[in-house]
Symmetry: C2
Subunit: 328 residues, 2 copies
């Protein structure tokens, strides 16, 4: 048990940014360092950047490596949690990268690797919006839609670590094409990418919208959550309508998840929920409640925005490391 | 452990028939009795009929009550497995019936109650098509669509025993009205009831079909699985087309389940699968494989018709009773 009392470094490895938090045994964050992920770089370059960021965070916290129980990483894409290999991470351009092994060689510390959404959901479950529940579903909405199922405090991995892909469940048979190549997936209807496609199509069809102007003013190539928030503040009707439609589909998705998993809580995470909070979640909740099979579930199943924001991934990685240390 | 070596009586309580099997500690069926469920009767009348059927089965097996470890029942509708209360069973016209307590008073034996689909899935998992797998999804297709998730040999119940309602997940947003009052549920697209509705609509629209004639010849008011089988044998095109469409939607549903649960096996149970076997399941499998998120899953995730037929429920009830006796 002594090992679980050690300090943990949680790392959130994103396509654009890299974040490390140093957390003590009492859940206190001692230091936090955020840097840019080296762009279009080879895996080894990115892994050295992770090692540097971990060391900087430890230095900022005044902690030496010997006091660290584990470094735990949330990585985008499909991850084999048992071997610590990132099988495929399109955001990083990675295929079959043995992240755990390589980082361990640099840091000489145990290194754990999990899928970023799985890790973020565990964070919300243990320390965020899902605290106090036994069964939780996490649905993270950003450029894509990721998900996780948590059963009695443990991430449910399925037979090969691939469980929880709510984003790639069909909710509109023969609907729009999805990034995965299939049609009608929730991701093709409710993700930020799907919403941007709808906004652009509406503008092309002659509808007036400030979205493209806001993107230009802010130097953004994509319709980010902050662009969405600003367009909504300006009362942009195209943005409102596109968002409402996505929220309807996301409400159906949440209801599907509740009817299948029967959880106490669904946490909606990711950039849009972090930025818009209840504005984003309330209409999703309304539709979901209508589509619950057991109407009385509306009284007891909570549907909440995540409460950890950008820290969900790094803090969730810490929680996973504690679970791992207790078992090993 | 001694108790687990006892004889178990498994009961399948259906809206039309009632079945009891007596199984010895080596999984050998000693006797089997099937009778009609008293029609439109009060719960007490049905419960007395269950007690009688159990006693008859024991008599046929040459087993006295004292050698029985438990009577275990699969009941249609929503069941509270902890209290043995049938909350709602539309097929039987029951609301809040304390089945376990009442039957125990008659038989003076421990009585367990589970949802019929949950129980049937456990049967297929332990003794049928799902044998040898760790994670399994069961989808039972009949007048409705029920489902179950099995994780490491245990039925996953969710926070209130309501998990696994695959039939009431939306797969075609704004699609046809479902028995639950929502739109676009799998049950409204792939159940026998949905298929019958489509066949009748096609005939009304002037298409030629032998289905209604077969129903009349056999004295059936509903399009049963045997009516479907006969129409298909006669090359009825309406039946073929309606079935193919339902199979497509069921394939999407199976893919959704695989993408969320990541099981090793999906068992398709219920009357149509029992009757048509591969004719029913092969097209479902083809569509599901196309919609798997991880294409390589097609090599390892089995999609099979149930192999226990009408006995899935009663045998599954036996398996659940053994699990319960081991714990108690």
């Amino acid at each position: 048990m002594a090992a679980t009392r050690k300090i943990i470094v949680g790392v959130d490895l994103g396509g654009t940014s890299l974040r490390a938090v140093v957390v003590d045994p009492n859940d206190q964050t001692l230091a936090e360092v955020k840097t840019a992920t080296p762009a279009a770089a080879r895996p080894d370059v990115v892994i050295r950047a992770i090692a540097r960021t971990v060391d900087e965070a430890l230095k900022a916290a005044g902690v030496r490596r010997g006091a660290v129980g584990a470094v735990s990483i949330g990585a985008p894409g499909s991850v084999d949690a048992k071997t610590g290999v990132v099988n495929r991470a399109p955001n990083l351009g990675w295929t079959e990268v043995p992240l755990s092994k390589k980082l361990k060689a640099l840091l000489r510390l145990p290194v754990l690797v999990g899928n970023d959404v799985h890790v973020g959901a565990i964070g919300e479950y243990a320390l965020g919006a899902g605290r106090g529940t036994e069964h939780m579903v996490g649905i993270f909405i950003g450029t894509g839609i990721g998900g996780a199922i948590i059963i009695r405090g443990q991430l449910y991995q399925g037979s090969r670590g691939g469980a929880g892909e709510w984003g790639h469940t069909v909710i509109l048979a023969d609907g729009p094409l999805c990034s995965c190549g299939h049609r009608g997936c929730a991701e093709a209807l409710g993700s930020r990418t799907a919403m941007e496609r709808e906004v652009r199509a509406a503008i092309k069809a002659g509808k007036k919208s400030v979205v493209l102007k806001i993107m230009k003013d802010r130097g953004r190539e994509r319709m980010t959550s902050s662009v969405m928030a600003r367009a909504l503040r300006q009362g942009d009707q195209v943005m409102q309508q596109v968002l409402a439609r996505a929220q309807y589909y996301l409400g159906l998705l949440v209801a599907n998840a509740v009817n299948v998993v029967d959880p106490e809580c669904v946490v909606i995470g990711g950039g849009i929920a972090d930025r818009l909070g209840e504005t984003f979640v309330a209409p999703i909740r309304r539709t979901a409640y209508q589509y619950f099979l057991r109407a009385r579930d509306a009284e007891r199943v909570k549907i909440l925005p995540g409460s950890l924001g950008d820290n969900a991934g790094a803090l969730g990685a810490v929680v996973l490391a504690r679970q791992w240390l207790r078992k090993n």
